[in-house]
């Protein structure tokens, strides 16, 4: 029987084999070979692609290099979304490796946030953690922590240090013994087909009678089209970290065990493959 803590490790160490190819219109001095990398699902593109940048910059002239950005089949990839979310949302039912195109010109100002330094990633990551704690604990736990604890969360992520990260993060996963869960669950539901980037609402992990709300309850409340079968057939998949959790799973458990390091449950609703 798998221990719950093993789930935390499986989530942390999930990887996606990826092939990076330079956009054909980029100007190079010699041919650019593709670059292969195992991407951590829980991290961010601009945090883990220094080697990709260096690899392609070697064949380009300095003046041709501006801010790097990534694209998959014509869609600019939002670096501020965790990698695993991007993959589940855009490419989960396609063959591996994931093929990402690398750009150094024509940054799509209307689609992507700028990411000029690691500080920007850190600020974004910490802002998500703080928002998650505002929902879970009215910000009490995150505000009680010292700056060095906040730094440890970020360093843990940046350096892929599970123990270092969870030494602090476990406090964000606790709740008062008299409650049976968080105040509200930090979650976002994504569908590639909508203009709205995600759905986020207040949702309690427990019903008024004390029963645990499930993933199915959350979807019914917030995104009913995701689980209403049309013609008796389920046309969509509900995916978190590359798997489809059972809809009966308590949302409190999912929040504690399958959140990303930013403490949010990022849930993808994608078309079910019709093979």
């Amino acid at each position: 029987m798998t221990d719950d803590k093993d789930v935390l490790r499986d989530v942390w160490f999930g990887r996606i084999p990826t092939c990076f190819t330079l956009y054909q219109d980029e100007i190079t001095e010699r041919e650019a070979e593709p670059y292969y990398l195992l991407l951590p699902r829980i991290s961010y593109l601009t945090l883990v692609t220094d080697k990709v940048k260096k690899h392609f910059q070697k064949v380009m002239r300095q003046e041709e290099v501006s801010e790097i950005w990534f694209e998959y089949e014509g869609t600019p990839l939002k670096w501020h979304y965790p990698i695993g979310l991007l993959f589940d949302l855009h490419a989960s039912n396609t063959a591996l490796p994931w093929s990402i195109t690398v750009h150094f010109k024509n940054f799509p100002e209307k689609d992507l946030l700028h990411c000029h330094s690691k500080d920007v990633i850190e600020a974004h990551f910490m802002a998500c953690i703080k928002e998650a704690d505002a929902l879970k604990h009215k910000s009490q736990v995150i505000n009680e922590m010292q700056k060095k604890d906040h730094k440890q969360l970020w360093m843990g992520l940046q350096n892929d240090k599970f123990e270092q990260f969870w030494a602090i993060n476990r406090k964000l996963m606790e709740y008062p013994p008299e409650d049976n869960g968080f105040r509200y669950i930090p979650f976002r539901i994504y569908q590639a087909t909508t203009e709205r980037p995600f759905i986020q609402k207040l949702f309690r992990p427990l019903a008024s009678g004390g029963q645990l709300h499930t993933l199915g309850d959350l979807l019914k409340d917030v995104c009913p089209s995701a689980i209403t079968p049309e013609d008796g057939e389920q046309k969509t998949q509900v995916m978190i970290h590359g798997i489809e959790p059972m809809l009966e799973t308590p949302i409190q458990w999912l929040s504690e065990h399958m959140s990303y390091p930013d403490n949010f449950l990022h849930i993808s609703i994608i078309p079910r493959p019709t093979d």
Binding site: K78, H80, E109, H114, A123, H124, E131, S139, R196, P197
Partner: protein, 227 residues
């Protein structure tokens, strides 16, 4: 950054209240031609306040964003930046005027239960302003605060309804100053339009000013339900 709670009680804004205050706000804006409108999203029925205005600013000098005479009834479409007249300017030499299009949105954050100010700015040719250019245009008296930790105050974020990059004034500290004013024993403040109070405080930081007539929006004129 830690948010210390200032007042004895925390004055949280519920979403229904937010919508009501916005409705009253838009009504007044329409009366005085201030250009605000409410936009509803088609899929979920939530929405936001929106206003677009143009600002002429001098390129090389950090603009002073005090507008002349806000208490008028004309639509404030072009806000001219006041500049001390010196010889070079009188002669029109050495300065470039640029028109910047500012778009302001007021959204509701259910996580923090406060309104949040989103904005974006671009030149007329469509080129968006960078974060540095935006910081550079921040009112001089706010620049000192922003020097401390700019990353905590104005950041670029994804607009939660439109999905496009906007700049955002961080909502973390909103409760501090709002609670200080609206909380406590001053009961007659409880029905003040939260949006007007909040926007008149945070707006000027990013070049958004409210004509004084908004202050005249008396509590009786707004539809209020008891707390």
């Amino acid at each position: 950054v830690s948010c210390s709670m200032a007042g004895e009680e925390d004055f949280f804004l519920e979403e229904k209240r937010f919508k009501q205050y916005c409705e009253d706000f838009v009504k007044h804006s329409q009366q005085i031609g201030d250009g605000w409108e409410w936009r509803t999203s088609k899929d979920l029925g939530d929405g936001y306040l929106s206003k677009t205005h143009f600002q002429v600013r001098n390129r090389h000098i950090p603009p002073d964003l005090e507008e002349k005479n806000n208490d008028n009834t004309e639509p404030t479409l072009f806000a001219h930046v006041e500049e001390p007249l010196d010889d070079s300017q009188a002669a029109g030499a050495g300065s470039t005027e640029e028109v910047v299009r500012y778009e302001y949105h007021v959204l509701y954050s259910s996580s923090y239960q406060v309104p949040v100010l989103y904005f974006r700015a671009c030149f007329l040719d469509g080129r968006p302003l960078t974060l540095d250019e935006v910081w550079g245009s921040v009112h001089a008296s706010y620049q000192a605060c922003l020097q401390e930790g700019p990353w905590d105050t104005i950041t670029q974020q994804e607009h939660p309804i439109l999905g496009q990059p906007f700049f955002v004034l961080h909502p973390c500290r909103t409760n501090e100053f709002i609670s200080a004013v609206l909380g406590g024993s001053q009961k007659h403040h409880r029905h003040t339009n939260y949006i007007i109070l909040w926007l008149s405080t945070v707006g000027p930081v990013v070049g958004l000013n409210l004509p004084l007539s908004y202050a005249k929006l008396a509590p009786e004129q707004s539809t209020n339900t008891d707390l």
